[in-house]
Amino acid sequence: MTYGWTEDELIERLKKGQEEAYRVLVREYHSRLYSLACGITLDREESQDILQEVFLKVCSNIKRFRGKSSLFTWLRRITVNESLNWRRRAKRRFRWKHQPLETGGIEGGPEPGSEESGPEAMYQKKELEKSLNNGLNSLPEEARTIFILRELEGLSYDEIAAQLNLRKGTVSSRLFYARQRLKEFLERDQGEE
């Protein structure tokens, strides 16, 4: 159910071009798709642009949507493709350095006054976050996309393989590699302290 409508009702309203349905669509799925795009591109600003493209594609193609998969599965597919295309097209990874995801404090952190909010704990968390960012940044695009689809979307190996047009064994080995690498980054940076 989305804002009191079933998914079929939402799709029907989207096909009729109802503005309210598009508002609901953006509000309902933006955050999750943004995380996905950001996970693949590692760029906040570009991810916003990609999401605009994704929703505009929905506008143009919703009438052709046959409902063979869920609406979100369709949106996810478009988002992954758009994100990968963006990376292949632009290769502007340097912008990542100017728009790091770890900028600013740790929002959504522990309540002030709790044990976890001490300066040392905050510092450690920030360092861990930085290590993970560095690790994600160091991963090859394919391995990172597989990791994101598994960890963020909880997709099975078969689903990831279908989405990225890979063999299941490749998904398993790339995912294993990605985790190994992230673990190395987390341990190395923790060991340096």
């Binding site: 503005e19 933006h30 999401l51 506008c59 959504g108 861990l128």
Partner: protein
């Protein structure tokens, strides 16, 4: 009774963690993890990475601007739903079209100006010509400078007119 794993296999643990093993293999891994501290550690590490990624996601989604996307999408929707004359008006008033149209008009005006530049008055270039049995003479006058040019041509022997 399930046979235990004979050796540690990190990738197998990773697949176990993701719920990608069949019943028999899963039981073997579970029995092994109970008695193998290093595989237990691998499993803990996998959970640690997932947890850390969860924290990362909460940071990532802070300050997302959905309004801009919403506005963009609704603008497009309104454009698509608009009647054809409104679309045509929008198209012609769009910056891209307006710029191209202005540039084209500028070039056209320039071309017209060049083509319609005042042509010098007569006299025509050829003032007079005389043809004889052995030679021809043409007297020309340059249109702008009014200089007189004499052109003389002698026919080779044996050639008539």
């Amino acid at each position: 009774m399930q046979e235990n794993l004979s050796h540690c296999n990190s990738e197998l643990i990773s697949r176990y963690y993701d719920g990608e093993l069949g019943q028999a293999e899963r039981s073997r891994v579970e029995s092994h993890i109970l008695v193998c501290p290093s595989c237990n550690k691998i499993l803990e590490d996998l959970k640690g990475i997932s947890d850390q990624y969860g924290v990362h996601l909460t940071h990532q989604s802070v300050g997302i601007d959905t309004q801009e996307t919403e506005k963009h999408v609704l603008d497009r929707l309104r454009r698509e739903k608009a009647p054809w004359w409104a679309k045509a008006k929008d198209t012609f008033l769009s910056k891209k079209i307006l710029f191209s149209a202005t540039a084209t008009a500028g070039v056209a005006l320039l071309l017209i100006a060049v083509l319609q530049a005042p042509v010098p008055d007569s006299p025509s270039a050829i003032v007079t010509s005389v043809s004889g049995d052995v030679s021809s003479i043409i007297i020309l006058e340059a249109p702008e400078t009014r200089q007189t040019i004499l052109w003389f041509n002698e026919r080779p022997e044996g050639q008539g007119l």
